[in-house]
């Protein structure tokens, strides 16, 4: 087994090479883990909603709890106007959560530890929210960049600052998820390497650290999926209820 802590983030091809012109569309381990988490989500919610018994079994309870959790999160942060977007935020939260959680299984691959995956997700959210804002408010959506009660002299400066802070949303959203996942997994691998190199005498300390870090990483995996979803709700709230 390679002791290089960055080895776990390597993307490699599974199966034959598929090329569409210049674009490489081969099936990689990243796509494999996306498919696995997608199938798991579909299975859980299919089985959970099959027979709606009054006393739920375990899978039904899981499905109902996650539904209620996301539904409450949306109504708390974005209000009742955001109800039509429930399905989008719910699938987003579930997808990121399962990708993070499957990354915690030993020898697996964490898809969200690649900046391109999180950046594409964040860009879709950013573009979608901007389009929703312009559809709902028309050109009045540009008022988002002009806070009320600012003297005329400072207005150009404030507008520039607001535009920068609006454009930095997808970057901060994607970098947060990516950096947390990658840093955590690298740290776990580094401590795992310490166990081997210190041997049976001094290896117990990094081993116990590694166990504690695993618990922390599971917390981070859940928390980052939650933060990703709740920030989407906040951006949606800005687009739907325009008040400054």
């Amino acid at each position: 087994m390679a002791t290089n802590p960055m080895h776990q983030f390597e993307v490699y091809r599974i199966g034959p090479e598929i090329k569409l012109g210049e674009v490489d569309l081969s099936f990689t381990n990243a796509s494999l883990f996306m498919v696995i988490s997608l199938i798991t989500i579909l299975l859980i919610f299919n089985l959970g909603s099959k027979k709606n018994s009054l006393i739920p079994n375990k899978i039904q309870l899981l499905a109902e709890l996650s539904y209620g959790f996301v539904s409450k999160m949306i109504s708390d942060t974005a209000g009742s106007k955001a109800k039509p977007y429930f399905s989008f935020i719910f699938s987003l939260f579930m997808f990121v959560l399962f990708l993070n959680m499957f990354g915690m299984v030993p020898y697996s691959f964490t898809v969200t530890s690649h900046i391109i995956v999180t950046f594409v997700l964040a860009t879709f959210i950013f573009v979608g929210v901007t389009i929703i804002g312009f559809i709902k408010h028309g050109a009045g959506y540009l008022k988002l960049f002009v806070p009320s009660g600012v003297p005329i002299v400072l207005l150009p400066l404030i507008v520039l600052i607001e535009i920068i802070s609006y454009l930095s949303r997808p970057i901060s959203l994607s970098v947060r998820l990516f950096a947390n996942m990658m840093a955590g997994h690298t740290m776990m691998k580094v401590f795992g390497g310490f166990v081997i190199s210190l041997g049976i005498v001094g290896g117990w300390l990094p081993l116990s650290f590694s166990v504690a870090l695993t618990g922390l990483e599971i917390l981070v995996a859940f928390l980052q999926a939650y933060v990703f979803a709740i920030l989407t709700c906040i951006y949606l709230n800005d687009a739907l209820n325009l008040h400054h």
């Binding site: 400066l157 520039l160 600052i161 607001e162 920068i164 802070s165 454009l167 930095s168 970057i171 901060s172 970098v175 947060r176 950096a179």
Partner: protein, 54 residues
């Protein structure tokens, strides 16, 4: 929150870089937009700290 601060600076610098390339005004716009990014990052951290206290 720390990533937010960095993201604002990065976005400001990228905007300055692109504007510099289009207007051919090499060092000036990137400098101005770098500091605008710093200001907006600090302002945003300030804002979220304020909303957290409520």
């Amino acid at each position: 929150m720390s990533t937010e601060l960095v993201a604002h600076v990065v976005v400001g610098t990228i905007i300055g870089f692109i504007l510099d390339k289009t207007f051919d005004s090499k060092p000036w716009l990137i400098l101005i937009f770098f500091f605008l990014g710093v200001i907006s990052g600090i302002a945003n951290v300030f804002r979220s700290a304020k909303s957290m206290q409520k």
